[in-house]
Symmetry: C2
Subunit: 553 residues, 2 copies
């Protein structure tokens, strides 16, 4: 780093970027804006930013009153609720670190995170107490549990100990809090990432990281006070993809989805229509379910002004087209990771491509991960770390660096292998960038299939398999092959009613789209496909099981 001419004298105060400023700003200007929270019984709780802010301040005071100190780590196990939102500001605002706990992790993983982060207190939804109970014995350094409940604590059944009532401690606390002037490199939250191997790895977001990422995101999606935002993305996933913070940044109306699964999508869709939601985000499976609901609706929702941010995996064209045809709503593909935060890329069209490409080409383009957002450095590199050209073909690992990309894991040896010395995060994703800057992810690097020197994208083939009406689940793995180094093997779970389908049918389906050398060498029908605790395909396990499939014969 080179020092230029100092803009101000060395002793000047550098104004620190602090996430609490988002809500302070919202209150200054948008105190009357509404916040809605979907309760367990499905009713909608409504209050305002002003009321929320008072409770955030009470929470900060309350946490201090029970002994939470600056730099302490406090875990959160919660649905998407207004209390969770209050915690987003009240907890890190008093200088503690919010440890976001994914309620879908296995107990040993959760316990590892709690212990590794030395979490002192855990805030937990009454409905999720069993998750906390499952790890309590493994986490003997936790000093207490704060239960989010409307009930009197006496009526809450749990063996957690000691326990506090979130509402109780808030009601006893003062409604005003003098927010700290925190060093911007202080941790705002810790988010642990889980893979198919090893222990979860801790990514600690500083206030600065999150502040800058939020500003970028707000700019890219034109968040404004006129927006009505439905928070579907779990708030423990990469901070809910930054949607709550970007909404607060501009004072948008917020709707928290509460506890929900795919069966609740019909109800959530109705809320979208009723409250005129203009922005939401989710994984393809959620939008798929929503599209099914919409297809059955007599009066179609008007989503022409609604941005549907889709992440997690590639949205199928049928999904995007379906939304467009039924509602006028645009699904926008975005890609991120725990380490580089959400929205490392965003797929939006450039005016000239809209003119130059055919409709079919535009839909194909929309599947890609998108252009790398301003602020990030990114490159695709080969095995030796050499940068590859942006030609839409040269595939390698994609690396990110930037103002909100972490440069290390908290206290683990993994840092060395996952980050370069000049601050790039090695994403573990394989892909290529085209001449217009659009990134396409083809595989996880460790799942890459190299057949005769050429890369085969397992993601493309899997997506094509799943688009067949008879296929419920599918995975493509690369297996050692005597002639071609590796060849792809397809594992397919058939849907009910398609059990008699032949391999040739699948093969023919794929052959319409892929070159012969890209087609799976073999297709196996299986009962189920192994997945990790967060539902990702466990290809490591599959490869191990089938490793000598092509060599033994």
């Amino acid at each position: 780093m080179i020092k230029g001419f100092p803009a101000e004298p060395e002793e000047s105060i550098i104004y620190q970027l602090n996430v609490i400023n988002f809500i302070k700003h919202a209150i200054r200007n948008f105190a009357r804006q509404e916040i809605i929270s979907r309760k367990l019984d499905g009713t909608l709780f409504r209050y305002t930013y002003k009321e929320s802010y008072e409770r955030m301040q009470r929470l900060a005071n309350a946490l201090e009153s029970i002994g939470v100190k600056v730099a302490d780590r406090v875990g959160v196990i919660a649905w998407n609720t207004h209390q969770h939102y209050e915690i987003y500001y009240g907890l890190p605002g008093m200088g503690a670190v919010m440890v976001t706990l994914n309620l879908r992790l296995a107990p040993q993983e959760l316990a590892y995170i709690v212990n590794h982060s030395e979490t002192k207190y855990i805030i937990v939804d009454e409905d999720l107490i069993p998750i906390a109970e499952n790890i309590a014995n493994l986490c003997d350094k936790v000093k207490g549990y704060i239960i989010i409940t409307d009930k009197d604590l006496k009526n809450v059944k749990t063996n957690l100990n000691p326990i506090y009532s979130y509402e109780d401690i808030l009601s006893k606390a003062l409604p005003e809090y003098k927010w700290l002037n925190l060093d911007e490199n202080s941790a705002y939250a810790a988010c642990y990432t889980t893979g198919t191997t090893g222990k979860p790895k801790g990514v600690y977001y500083s206030h600065r990281n999150l502040y800058l990422q939020t500003m970028m995101f707000a700019a890219y999606f034109s968040f404004s006070v006129k927006d009505v935002v439905l928070q579907l993305v779990p708030m423990f996933h990469v901070l809910g993809w930054s949607i709550p913070h970007a909404s607060t940044y501009v004072g948008a109306k917020l709707i928290f989805s509460g506890k929900w699964n795919l069966n609740d999508v019909e109800e959530l869709t109705k809320i979208m229509v009723q409250e005129k939601v203009s922005l939401t985000g989710g994984v393809p499976a959620v939008f798929m379910a929503m599209l099914e609901v919409i297809k059955k609706m007599v009066e179609k929702p008007d989503f022409r002004r609604t941005r549907l941010i889709c992440g997690g995996s590639e949205p199928p064209i049928a999904l995007m087209r379906g939304f467009w045809d039924e509602t006028g709503g645009e699904i926008i593909h975005s890609y991120g990771s725990t380490e580089a935060m959400s929205n490392s890329t965003i797929n939006s069209f450039k005016p000239w491509l809209k003119k130059e490409l055919s409709e079919e080409e535009l839909w194909e383009l929309k599947k890609k991960q998108g252009i790398i957002v301003s602020g990030l450095d990114a490159k695709v590199v080969d095995e030796n770390g050499n940068e590859l050209p942006h030609d839409g073909k040269s595939s390698g690992e994609i690396l990110f660096r930037g103002p909100w990309v972490t440069t290390s894991y908290y206290k683990t040896a993994h840092t060395k292998s996952s980050f370069t010395e000049d601050g790039f995060f090695k994403s573990g994703d394989a892909g290529c960038i085209d001449s217009e800057g659009y990134l396409k992810i083809t595989d996880r690097i460790k799942d890459v299939i190299k057949s005769g020197g050429e890369w085969i994208s397992s993601i493309d083939i899997e997506n094509s398999l799943i688009s067949h009406p008879g296929v419920l689940e599918a995975a493509i793995i690369g297996i050692p092959h005597p002639k071609w180094d590796e060849r792809p093997l397809a594992l397919v779970v058939l849907r009910e009613g398609f059990q008699s389908m032949k391999k040739e049918e699948i093969h023919g389906h794929l052959a319409k789209k892929f070159a012969k050398w890209q087609l799976p060498e073999e297709i196996l029908f299986v009962e189920s496909i192994p997945r990790t605790s967060v539902g990702k395909l466990n290809k490591k396990l599959m490869r191990s099981k089938y490793q000598d499939f092509f060599t033994k014969s």
Copy 2:
């Protein structure tokens, strides 16, 4: 400042915010986007971001080749041209500081700035050589002048020495430059502010200041690659109100207005229509002239998607209404200063106010400076520095603090009186904030009129005076008064054809809008009103001239 839990180990690399990243990003994704520059002969020069970027890199190399080093200061005297845009990145990108020189300043002011900043080289448009010549003898430390011209240097008449040709040194330089990893607190540019008293004061913007301000601005105005942006604001004014940088941030199409004055507004309006401009900015006088042009057009421009950012002073309702009625375009009032950068406030409507207020009330609201943007701390304080309530009445001085607000002037004693110890900039503007957060500026603090303990807004009365068809110019000043401490005195320049107008007519015009005690105690018709070198009302001079007007009699 309190240190929380460190998000990453102390020795970690903090990714530095560097303005050069905006153009690097634009090139990565929007290399084909067009940039237009209006030449002296009125023709339009067109090239692309890609071509511009190559020239920025050549410029960085060229500056090094003539001896410019990291941290050196380099002055720029230029119109709004594509070369000026190249300088915006090429110059600070190689670590030097761009000293923006306002070509409308008096020679002694310009010379002071050049000497005070120890400017080493000056880049100057051929057309503006006389300005540089006027100060050359006063600035003996300047080592050379770089002339922006298409001509061979032999054919450029000047006594500046030594001189370089901008095009020559670019053509000889390499087209690739490895941008520096600059410390983000390094100065990007220096902008000197001039008042009615004393020497110009130097505000040095760091890369970090400008980076953060640009992101905020891009978010607030939803800049996107689909935008076509006309740069009317002089690029030496608070960095052209950040419009060039925000456009680059998203890869918008840019049009530079070249050399122009109010007589060129018709031509510029035609360019707006022809190129489908979706965003521009200017002072009310420019938009007034544009509205006159539009009123005469048979086919009205469609500005329904065009944001017209209006700063410098309060836009009259007639102006805003005129644009709305004639074109569907919205004039958006924004307020800034050299020290707090542009867009400290932006006047945009909240959904609920649109519902609650009448049309007339909304127009009145639109005149206000707007809500304070996210990221800034702001307060209105009384003479003792006590914060005043947001009640829309309590007036005092408005103070700003934030990630892009300077906390000192470069090497002057003024810093002590203009900044608080906790980092607030004392704007010198008097105003009040209402319960919805809208700031209204009523006066310069030093021009405030206190009559019988009540504040009278000279700005409101001046604007009302100017709205009278017979009034060409007007100023309201506070003059010592034996009974009321101070009373307002109006100085009015009448338009041709209205020379016989009576005081009573003016008085009656004001009496429709203001309370009796707010009305000027006396109205004087004068030949002209004294102004500063940048065209502001010179009230200090007026007060001095009329100081005993109410006491002598």
